[in-house]
């Protein structure tokens, strides 16, 4: 297993270099002067000259690439001219919000999609099956931004003053405050260290933070704000997962060992959960892994629709303001994040299916 993980890690190095090269190439293809593209039209000549010499823009292209890789390896993604702070700081502020949204969406899609798919397979051709497949087909065809807007309309306006009313934007209602859990616990972490950065990162995820600090009012409010965006973002993966769960289960349920298990008198539920479902897991992990990329892309749209100040939202703002520094940095970070996720998915295959790691 360790050799497998090591081999996979080594294999992802060229891909990482490719990602860096692609984003580097994109940043050099921006029409016009790279300095003013990165720092804004109002940058003065003095500032630009300093920028050019600092990033080696007057040197050969390979040296420039070297400088770029070196900067990123040191966690330096440059500065955003609009926020006038390092892009790394912005990332640490915004990434937790996106991660929280993506995790919530993924949880919803797995918790609803898997049981739906399994039930459709077990009750093949029943009305549950037909409805689920119809829903799955519609689900993968919906634009996530449209679904988000429609959900906002239905739950914030049409169902106003009913118990089902849900807020259409933002992360918390006005007046609801969060205190970082480490303050509630009375910890002093200092600043700059790994643990303090991690604690700050976690404290920015409202739901997790309010659980850790036992603040139930904030927790309720944060969950209420999370439902609509998470459902909007989770619908496409939910549909994909339901379809895959169904076809994987159908395939497994037709195997001889399932018939044997039933013939020897095992309870139906035991056969379905222990014999069939476990063997249908591998294709499910594949489709969950594949939908992670869509989730990250969809987060841009979902955050725009629901006014969540996550990575996606800032990316959208950066695009409209032509803040290339942010676009470039966030693309790199999300791509690296995505490579890491794929790595985890691959490793979990190897864990689930010994044939893969021995091959």
């Amino acid at each position: 297993m360790t050799t497998y993980i090591l081999r996979r890690l080594l294999l992802s190095i060229p891909v990482l270099f490719g990602i860096l090269f692609a984003t580097f190439a994109l940043s050099r293809l921006i029409p016009g002067d790279p300095c003013r593209a990165m720092l804004g039209e109002k940058a003065t000549d003095a500032v630009c000259n300093e920028f050019i010499s600092r990033h080696g823009l007057d040197k050969p292209i390979l040296v420039q690439f070297g400088v770029y890789v070196n900067e990123i390896a040191h966690g330096d993604f440059g500065r955003s001219f609009r926020f006038s702070k390092p892009v790394t700081d912005l990332l640490m502020e915004r990434l937790p919000i996106t991660v929280e949204l993506a995790v919530a969406a993924l949880l919803i899609s797995i918790l609803v999609g898997v049981p739906l798919g399994v039930i459709s397979a077990v009750r093949h051709n029943s009305w549950v099956d037909v409805l689920t497949m119809l829903w799955a087909n519609i689900g993968v065809s919906m634009p996530v931004f449209w679904l988000g807007l429609m959900l906002a309309y239905v739950f914030a306006l049409a169902l106003k003053d009913t118990p089902f009313q849900l807020p259409p934007s933002g992360r918390l209602s006005p007046g609801i405050l969060t205190t970082p859990f480490y303050d509630v616990w009375g910890l002093s972490l200092g600043s700059g260290g790994f643990f303090s950065t991690l604690a700050e990162f976690i404290s920015r995820m409202n739901i997790l933070n309010s659980v850790l600090s036992a603040d139930w009012e904030t927790l309720g409010d944060a969950i209420k704000h999370m439902i609509l965006p998470a459902v909007a973002l989770g619908t496409i993966p939910m549909a994909l997962i339901a379809r895959m769960a169904r076809s994987a289960m159908l395939e497994v349920l037709g195997q001889d060992y399932i018939r044997t298990a039933r013939a020897k008198g095992l309870a139906r539920n035991v056969v379905i959960t222990k014999h069939a479902f476990r063997n249908a897991l591998l294709p499910l992990v594949t489709v969950i892994g594949l939908s992670l990329g869509g989730l990250l892309g969809g987060a841009v749209l979902t955050e725009t629709v629901f006014n969540l100040s996550g990575v996606g939202r800032i990316l959208y703002d950066a695009i409209t303001a032509r803040d290339y520094g942010i676009v470039q940095a966030f693309t790199v970070v999300i791509a690296i994040f995505f490579v890491a996720l794929n790595l985890i998915v691959d490793i979990s295959y190897a864990y689930l299916d010994p044939r893969i790691r021995l091959n």
Partner: protein, 318 residues
């Protein structure tokens, strides 16, 4: 004599008669046995019809403000749908889906939007298939370092979430429909390259390819006449499903303001322009989104149907 008749009939039923049935005829027949595929084809048929006849079906030109109509109509911005049949006063001009933020007829814009949507899907996928096929064929046929370089580049492209890479590309190229199409096309190349490479690898060592080589066939002949036709069926399936994704991504880019620019009647940008009005004029958000969904749904249903119909493992079904 009478004993032989049923035997011949049986042979017929197994498709062993002299009358040959082509793969496409079988596929077509199987496709028509699937309700979902029929539904997909019906929606797609309606869409193509609307796209072809938009200039006659639409009551107004798509970019005409009602203030400049003949006679001018003094309507409010984003007026609600008005259908005479459903009790809208006859002295008010009829706008089936209301008017948008620039007092243009939403229904006409929606009809014209079908042209762009289909064009976007076909153009990006043709572009991606053309380049993906060449890359995949080279990769699979020559192997070695050619294969390595091409497939590693494809790996890098796949390492980005597709919408995000498209956003990054359009940010650099500048917003606009053509650039958005180019970006989505580039992003979808790897999946076609992989499909073609896999097919090429699977038939490269077949006897009939060796036979062509022995008969003196050149690389072109072997690749384009003998090998690539085998990649056609998976490409058709992948392409049909790819059109659905391309339309969704293009709509998303336009929604973000990176694709089609106003006043182009593109569904994504129509929706994006009115998204802040979702609480006051929901019809301006609902209908363009519904149109996108139906278009994407039709290609998805058709693609799924084609995949099942072209799958030789399901041969006994027909």
């Amino acid at each position: 004599m009478t004993a032989e008749t049923p035997k011949i009939a049986k042979l017929d039923a197994e498709g062993l008669s002299l009358k040959s049935v082509s793969l496409w005829q079988i596929t077509w027949r199987r496709l028509f046995k699937r309700k979902s595929a029929i539904l997909g084809m019906v929606i797609l048929g309606i869409l193509v019809f609307v796209a072809l006849t938009a200039q006659w079906l639409a009551p107004y030109p798509p970019t005409l403000s009602m203030l400049d109509a003949n006679p001018p109509q003094n309507l409010d911005k984003r007026s609600a749908p008005c259908i005479h049949l459903f009790g809208c006063p006859a002295d008010q001009p009829q706008h089936i889906l209301g008017t948008d933020g620039n007092i243009r007829d939403e229904f006409s814009r929606l009809l014209y939007g079908s042209r762009l949507s289909l064009m976007v899907g076909l153009a990006t996928v043709s572009f991606a298939i053309a380049i993906g096929t060449v890359l995949g064929a080279l990769s699979g046929y020559f192997g070695g370092w050619v294969d390595n370089i091409i497939m590693r580049v494809m790996d890098v492209l796949l390492a980005f979430p597709s919408l995000l890479l498209a956003i990054a590309i359009v940010t650099v190229l500048g917003p606009g429909l053509i650039n958005a199409l180019l970006a989505i096309g580039i992003v979808s190349i790897p999946s076609y390259a992989r499909v073609v490479r896999a097919s090429v690898l699977s038939v490269r060592e077949m006897d009939y390819v060796s036979a062509t080589r022995a008969l003196g066939g050149n690389t072109n002949q072997i690749l384009f006449r003998r090998i690539l036709p085998n990649a056609l069926t998976p490409l058709i399936v992948q392409g049909t499903l790819g059109i659905a994704t391309a339309i969704l991504d293009a709509a998303a880019l336009s929604f973000l303001g990176l694709g089609a620019q106003p006043p182009t009647p593109e569904w994504g940008s129509m929706l994006g322009a009115e998204r802040n009005q979702v609480f006051t004029a929901p019809h301006l958000v609902f209908y363009p989104g519904l149109a996108i969904m139906l278009t994407v749904l039709s290609f998805n249903l058709l693609g799924d149907g084609l995949r099942d119909a072209l799958d030789p493992r399901l041969a006994h079904v027909s």
